[in-house]
Structures are given as C-alpha cells and as structure tokens.
C-alpha cells in the first residue's frame, strides 16, 4: 500500500514538474513568435543581452571578448529581451549594423574621458573613428597618407618647428556655427589644462597651438629635448576637434574642476561628424545621420553618407556576434572569426573579407610577447632568445590565428610591420643571420647549454644561480587567439627545460600587471599603421621613456634598457634622409633580434573586417581600386566607404 502511495506521489510530482516546465516554455515560445514576426520584416531579431564590460574600453580589448557561454544560452536570453527593443527599431534598409566595437551601454561622449566605453564615437588613435567627432585629417593605412577632413592642407616650415594647417572653410558644427581655428586652439588648450591623456601626451611635444585667422592654425613644436616632428604631426589625425563655446559651457557647469570636466558625459554634445547620438541602452547603440552635415559641401564629400542610422547591437560575446553576422543581422563585423573562409566556402553565405585568401585581412599590427628583463633568468639574453627560438610560430599562426596572419618565413621578423611601406626601412639581408628557424628546439637547447644554463638537479628544468627557470606567461582571459598563443609558448618551454605556465587573469588585473611591469612574460600588440610608423613600433619595443612611466600603456613593458637603441630613437624623428632612416631601423631590428627584449608572435590587422552583403553592398575590398582601407567603414579614411554603400537589389 505504502509503495503504491509512493508511486502515485512520484507520478504526481513528475507530472507537476512537467506541467510547470511546459508552462514555462510555452510562455517563452509565445514571446518568440511575437518577436520574430517583426524580425521577419525588417528588424534584426537576435539582440544579445547587455553585459557590462566596463573594463574593456579600447577596441583592442573588446574585440577579444570572452566566449564563455554557449550560443544557446545567448539566444535564450536574447528572445526574452527583444520585445522592448522593437520600439526602437530603425528601418533595416536605412541602417548599417556593426559588431565588435561596442560592448555595453554607452557611458559618455567625452573625448577627454579616460574611461569611456564609447566604441561608436570615440576611438582616438592614428586611424580615429570619424563618425561623430572628426579629426583634422584622416589617415589611410593603404597608402600611408593623410586625407583632408576638417583641415584641407598642412605644411611644415623648413626646420620642422611650425606646422601650419589650413582649415576647410565649409566645416560647420552640428549647431550650425562655423568651425574655426579658435576651436582647434581651444581644444588643445583644454586637453592640456585638464591633463587628459591626450593633453598629457601632446603637451610634451607641442608648445602651443595658435589661431592665425579663422581658417589658419599654427602648431608650434617644442624645440628642446622633446623635439619630435613625427609626434606633432600625429596631432592632425588622432585628436578630435571640440567646439570652444561648448567646451566653455562644460567647464562652467563643472566649475573648471579637472576630474568633473573629464567625467562629464557630454550627452548634449556639439560635433562636426556626420552622425549624432540617437539611442543607447543595454541592447543596442544607434547613431543617426545629421542631414545638415557640412561634409555634403563640394569641397569635402559632396554628399551625405548613405545609411541613415548606424546601429551596434550589444552582443554578449564573439559567438553571438558571429551568429548574427552569418544570419545577416550584422553588416560589418569587427571580430576574430575562426576559419572565416568557411562562411562563404562551405555555408555559401554572402560574406567576404578584405582579401579572398589567407590572411584575409590587411595585417599591420604585431602582437608580441615581452620578457620582463628585471626578473632573474629573464635578464639573461640567452634565456630570452632560447624561448624565442623554441616557439612554434607556424603553429601559432595556423591554429591560434586560424591562418589569418602571414608567416615569418614570408615576412621575417624586424621592428617594422608586414606592409611594403614599412619594410622599405629595413635591410633584411643585413639581419638575416640573426633570424632563427621556426621551432628551433635544438638550437635553443644548444644556446642554453653553451651559456652554462643547465639542469643540475635533474628535475628536468634548467637553473640560473640555483633557481629553476620558471615563468608565467600571461594575457587577459577570453582573448582566445592570445590565450592559445600563450599555450603554444608554454609548450615550447617544456621542450627546452624552461617551465612556462600560462596565466589568464581578468583583463583589469592583467592591465595592472602589464602597466606596472609585474609579470614574467606578457603579450601586447605593437601599433598598427599610422603616420608615426615604423617609429612608433620602435618606441613600442625599446623606449626608455615609456618604461619610466608609472603606469605604462605604450610599450617596453619589460623595462629593457639599451643606450644604443635609445640614441637611435632620439635621432629618428628629426631625420629625413631615407637611407639614414633605413640604417637606423636596421640597427634597431638587429638589437631586437639579438637581445630579444620582445618577440613578435604573429601579424594581424588592427581591426578585423568581415562584411555580409545581404542588405548593403559595395564595401571596400582589396582589389576594387578605390584605395579605401578595410577599417569597418568607420575609422580613418575608411569612412569614405559609407558614402559609396548601395542597397542590394
């Protein structure tokens, strides 16, 4: 009897459970149908839920966002969240969807902010994002030239101490007022006054910026020890212009307090760019075209950019963004995609990349590993070089980077990137002897043996001064290609009797370690194309100035000091003779390869670029002869692509 009761009870329990599950699922099913109906017409259906990724502000950081959860989980959550976003829907055929640049609700529109996560408006590097704010000139990584934007011409005086810039007289602010030389000068003065990172950086090299008349600005370089025309000229393409009147309002409302000014969200911004803020929440960020944009003047573009809206759905991780790209919900995708060629070769999707074959993108940056030269063991160049020699770079490129990088056999290591424009600065025959074969384990072992660094206590690990060579190779968790690269470096250590452990902390604590030289081996990417390259790459590897910064984000993380290199770095900015420059860069490459303070692991594009042509077409491609770089239609001269987009018939 008792047994029967149990059976009946358990049956009841099970059916109750089942019913509740069905009820639960039923609810969400009806949700799905309501949200997918509009999806079928116009609106992208998969809005990934927002995840605050506050620490990931730069796009270097964001594009590698963690892929921890499965796609199913994302989709489930997505359907729950869609209903509310439908009210904000913009017509699909007027909206260009991006992915991989914005990872949370936009927190400010302030170019002076130190912790902005705004991937739509603020990305002030040498190829600055030109959608909302604009720089004086746009950099084009394809030909290495500056193209006019707010400024129309620039010229140096003979001894390179004064840079005169003529502004475009048609340029106007979004409130209709004229963009003038006063604005340029005030922008610089405000950056300096409140010591924003831009201000701190440029005030070292720029003495003052003066408005000569409404359309002429003179940038005066410092002529003391910090005389650096290269750095001064990068002001043209990497600093966003702000309006004097508006800045004064901001200063006034914040009582000229430096922290308050830098933290002002500037939601009422005045800008020159073609797009302005439209909507931002935890599901998507949208900017809307300013139909009075000054750039439709014949002196600039002569027309408006084609898409009325640029929208960025907030995806939880790379996987969610990739799914959206393959479903045509994302048009331009700035994300690393494993085996990207399968999207068109096997799935037959209308997706393409910059190049049709490996490496698929325009590679110009060099992710490199730094050795901390202050750590015992790593202060010996034999140890550093042995690790560098033993690493299987071809494996890193083929598997960690999924083949999306040229190999070191094609482009031998040096201080310059794999583009022709930079490679002409290095004499590769002169440094051929210093190159090493891929995964040269025997050579590395011999090098260590010859240097007397051997395993004396028989535990399989070599010692220096009686301590085992044991190091931690670190990079932020979730940056999949970097994590895998570090694993391959660790595997190389095992082959040469050096214990290398991988360590993948959260990005924020990794940044702490890297910027304060508190690591054994760490990884960061040498800057991509820019006016200052390859000089900025040289600085990245050797600059003592960077190493002395209390919080160093710029390079030479391992505090490697070399007087010869420092002398060359001082000489390069003022040198104009190309033969001499070639000599300098060749010498730097020699030091880099011989001393191995840092080692290049792969090449990669500064921005990943994959486009889906379901809605829009006529994106830049390598062979189209338009000279528009693949910067996701947003950065530097790449924004020119927005004016040529067409709807698919």
């Amino acid at each position: 009897m008792k047994k029967n009761l149990q059976k009946v009870m358990s049956l009841l329990c099970v059916s109750a459970l089942t019913m509740s599950m069905i009820a639960g699922c039923g609810g969400s099913t009806s949700d799905t149908t309501t949200t997918e109906a509009p999806a079928a017409t116009e609106e992208a259906s998969t809005e990934a839920p927002a995840e605050e990724t506050a620490e990931e502000t730069t796009e270097e950081a964001t594009e590698e966002a963690a892929e921890e959860t499965t796609e199913e989980a994302t989709e489930e959550e997505a359907t729950e969240d869609t209903a509310s976003s439908d009210a904000d829907a913009t017509p699909r055929n007027e909206t260009l969807y991006e992915a991989g640049q914005q990872w949370g609700t936009i927190n400010d529109w302030n170019p002076m902010s130190a912790n902005s996560n705004n991937g739509l408006a603020l990305s002030a590097n040498e190829q600055a994002r030109e959608l909302v704010y604009e720089t004086l000139f746009m950099f084009n990584s394809l030909d290495g030239k500056l193209y006019p934007l707010l400024g129309s011409e620039y010229s140096w005086n003979d001894d390179q101490t004064e840079l005169t810039v003529t502004l475009n007289p048609d340029a106007k602010w979004s409130d209709g007022t004229q963009f003038t030389a006063e604005d340029v000068a005030y922008t610089f003065d405000t950056h300096v006054k409140y010591q924003s990172s831009t201000g701190a950086d440029f005030s070292t090299y720029i003495d003052s910026i003066e408005a000569v008349d409404d359309t002429t600005v003179v940038i005066k370089a410092k002529t003391d020890d910090n005389f650096n025309p290269l750095k001064v000229s990068s002001f043209l393409n990497s600093v966003y212009m702000m309006q004097k009147a508006y800045l004064q309002t901001v200063e006034e409302r914040n009582g000229e307090d430096a922290d308050a000014v830098k933290q002002d969200t500037m939601e009422d911004l005045v800008h020159t760019g073609p797009y302005g803020p439209y909507l931002s929440n935890d599901q998507k960020a949208v900017i809307i075209r300013d139909d009075n944009y000054w750039g439709q003047a014949d002196s600039m573009w002569g027309k408006l950019p084609v898409p009325k809206y640029i929208a960025h759905t907030i995806y939880k991780d790379n996987a969610a963004g990739q799914v959206a790209l393959s479903q045509g919900e994302v048009d331009v995708c700035q994300q690393f995609i494993t085996d990207v060629q399968n999207l068109w070769l096997e799935d037959g999707l209308p997706i393409s990349t910059w190049l049709d074959d490996a490496p698929y993108g325009a590679c110009e940056a060099i992710p490199s590993m730094f050795f901390n030269t202050e750590r015992p063991g790593l202060d010996k160049k034999e140890v550093r070089r042995a690790i560098a020699m033993a690493v299987d770079y071809e494996q890193i490129i083929a598997s960690a980077m999924s083949g999306q990088s040229p190999t070191f056999a094609e482009y031998p290591r040096s201080v310059v990137g794999p583009t022709d424009g930079e490679r002409k600065y290095v004499d590769f025959d002169a440094i051929a002897d210093l190159q090493w074969d891929n995964a040269d384990v025997d050579g590395a072992n011999k090098l260590l043996d010859d240097a007397g660094i051997v395993d004396t206590d028989g535990d399989g690990i070599r010692e220096v001064d009686g301590t085992n060579l044991s190091f931690k190779a670190e990079c932020p968790t979730g940056w999949s290609d970097w994590n895998a690269s570090m694993e391959i470096v660790a595997a190389a250590g095992q082959n040469i009797g050096i214990d290398i452990q991988t360590y993948f902390p959260e990005a924020s604590s990794y940044y702490d370690d890297m910027t304060t030289c508190n690591f054994d081996i760490c990884m960061w990417s040498a800057p991509g194309a820019g006016m200052m390259n390859p000089y900025s790459k040289g600085m990245f590897y050797f600059s003592e100035e960077y190493a002395k910064l209390p919080s160093n984000w710029s390079g030479n993380f391992g505090h490697y000091m070399n007087d010869d290199a420092e002398k060359i770095l001082k000489a390069i900015p003022t040198e104009t003779d190309e033969a001499k420059l070639k000599e300098y860069y060749t010498e730097l490459s020699k030091i880099l390869l011989d001393e191995c303070p840092a080692v290049a692991l792969m090449y990669r594009p500064s921005l990943f670029y994959a486009v889906n042509e379901s809605v829009w077409t006529n994106y830049p491609a390598a062979d189209d002869g338009r000279n528009i770089p693949p910067t996701d239609c947003t950065d530097g001269y790449g924004i020119a692509a927005l004016y040529d987009l067409e709807l698919v018939e």
């Binding site: 921890e68 494993t338 068109w344 083929a398 694993e487 486009v611 042509e613």
Partner: protein, 414 residues
Amino acid sequence: MKNTLKQVFHSGKFLFGFCIFVVIIATCIIYPIFVTADPLQMIGQGNFFKPGTYVSIEESTLSKSYTLQLPKEFSKLEAVLDIDTRSEIQQFLIKQAGIAESEIDVTDAEALVEQWKANYDPDTKYKGLTTAKRKALKRLNNEINAALKDSGVIIAEKDEEGALAQSKVIKDTDYVNINDVTKKTFILGTDNFGRDVLTELIAATKSSLKIGLLAGTIATAIGLILGLLAGYMGGLADNIIIFITNLFTVIPSFVILILISYSVGDNARGIAMVGIIIGVTSWPWTTRSVRSQVISLRNRDHVNLSKLSGHSMFRIIFTDILPYIASYVVMAFILQISSGILAEAQLSMIGLGPATTKTATLGLMMQWAMTYSAHLNGSWWAYFPVVILIALISFSLNLMNTGLDQVFNPQLRD
C-alpha cells in the same frame, strides 16, 4: 560477502553500468599501449581538421602508381554543375550577360558551359553583383575550367637554374596503394591546436577519472569520518560538526570551488590539486546523511551491548556501525566520483582547471572547443565526443548506484 557480490551482479542495472564503466577504463588503459604518441602533441597546423585518413601528397605523387580502369560514375562537369550551380549560371546569363531565358537550356551541361565561357570574363567587374557573389562566380569559373581540363596533372621539378622540368604526368586513372604511402588517421579529427582528438580524449578521460576518484575518495572520507563522529558522539561534538557542515551547505560548493581554485593559482593546479580541491568542497551532504544513518543505528541493541562490554568508541564505530552503513557509503562514493568528474569539467570550462599544455582533461577540451567556436563551425568532433563521454561516465556511475540501491535497500527489493 560473496553472496552480496553475487546479488549485486545479478542486478541488471548495476551490471549494465558496470560494463560501460569497465569498457571506458579498459580503453583508457589499452589504447595508450598501442598509441604511444603524446596526446598533447600539436600535429595539425590549423583548426579542427576533419576526421579521416590523411595521406602524404608528395609521396602519393612520387610512389608507384597503378592504373585502374574504374568506371566513372559521372563526368567531372556533371559533378560541378549541380542544380543550384546551374540556376546560378542561368541567373548570371540572364541578368549580367543579357541572354534571353529561352536560349538557355539548363539541362544541357555542355551547352550551358559553352554559354558561360562565352559570356563570363573573370576580370570584368559586373554591375549589380555583390562582392561576395562576384568572388563566388570567380571560384565557380575556376571549378568549371578544372572540370573541362583534360585528364592529367604535370609534376615538374626545378633544376639548378630554377627552370621547371616535367618529371611525371598523373592521369585520372592513376591510383596509389594506400599502404605504400605515409598516412595518418585521425578517427575524431583534430582540435583547435591541431592535436589528435581521440588520443587526447582518452588521456583526458584518464585524468578526469583520476580527478573524480581522488575527489570522491577525499569527499567520502571526510564526510564519513565527520558523519560517524557527529552521529555517534552526539552532544557538543555533533553540534559543532553539524554547524560547520551547515556552513558549507548554505554556501554553494561550486562558489567555494571557484574561489579556492582561483586563489591556488595556475602553477599549483595539477590533476592532484584539482582533485583535492573538489574533494574538500563536496563532502557536506555525505556527512549529513551518514550522521542521520548513524543516529538511527547507535541505539540498536548490539551497539548498546558493545557499550556495556566496555568496547572503545572507535571499535564500536568500526565494527558495529560502519558495516551497517557500508553499502550506503559505497553508493555515496560512486556519486561523489561522478560529481567530481562533472565539477572538473565545469571548472575547466571557466578556465580554472589544470594547465592546458601539461594535462588533457575533458573540461579543457570543451573549453577550447567553445573558445574556437567549434559549435558554430560545425566541428562536432571537437566537442561532441567529449560531451558523450562525460555523459557516459556519469550515466554508468549513476546506473551502478541505482543498481546497488535496489540490492541493498529492502524497500526497493522486489
């Protein structure tokens, strides 16, 4: 004892679970005898190579070839021109080349190709096509050209001056005997690092089982000792132990697990350390249930008799109480092993497992497969066998547990 074992093995459920488990263990032991390769060796240069046999192309071209007159099932051209491709060509001819639809006969492959060749120029930038489409057509053109080509591939070698000299022609009737060439079979393909998934899977199962066994042993030992003491001694000792146990029960053990693994750091996290960490966080429920069993036993007559005889506490616990709950403890042990394996998988999935380059574990395999989006690329071999194996291990252990339960629990006995 013999009788009990006999009874146990008469239980169908137990036997089934036991067989699966033995097969898994046996595979873990036998496979490495035959395949001695390092399971973590990165062989394939690239992500997720398909399962199958890979033969050396160089050797295939150089080794002795056999001519086989195999009947061809279809012409190469027919193979290239499937229905979709034909309609694509038709679309192109109508829209871009301006040929009337009536002039196109999609059923006649050769005529279609002729029209295609006449009208398609790979260097022209056709209007009204997306870049992706243009590139697809270019690839199609290459395929058609390859299909039209006469049989035969020329092998040429470079001489000293760098000029090419023809050394061999390979015809479409040429075959090599697969035993003549170097080959490598990946039954389950390769993973994102280019490692052989099958070899890695078996090494991973082995280490996962080790971790599970270690975690299970530790958890059961702690749980058993604390449970026995609390249950038998009662009073203050019971209060203290149950207080601690409650503390551990209310904090989700997985959270403690994450915190401990994180604070231990990567350096120390080997198989043993992960096993120990899982073990010391998963004992509370064993303690609680052992304690309640002991409480119901401690007032039995034979226990009271032992007490009267002046036996020590430990003797009473080990001879008068433990044997009565032994079957229960075995079952708890099995469940602990199973949950230990799952816990390792979860830990590794979030990157807190053992080091990737030193050990293979099931969780790590899952983690890397997900990181390199194997689930989006259709590379099922990188994660599906792992899922199946984790499921099989815990299924077999749970099955054994249910079988034992049926044998030992009089209420469930038929």
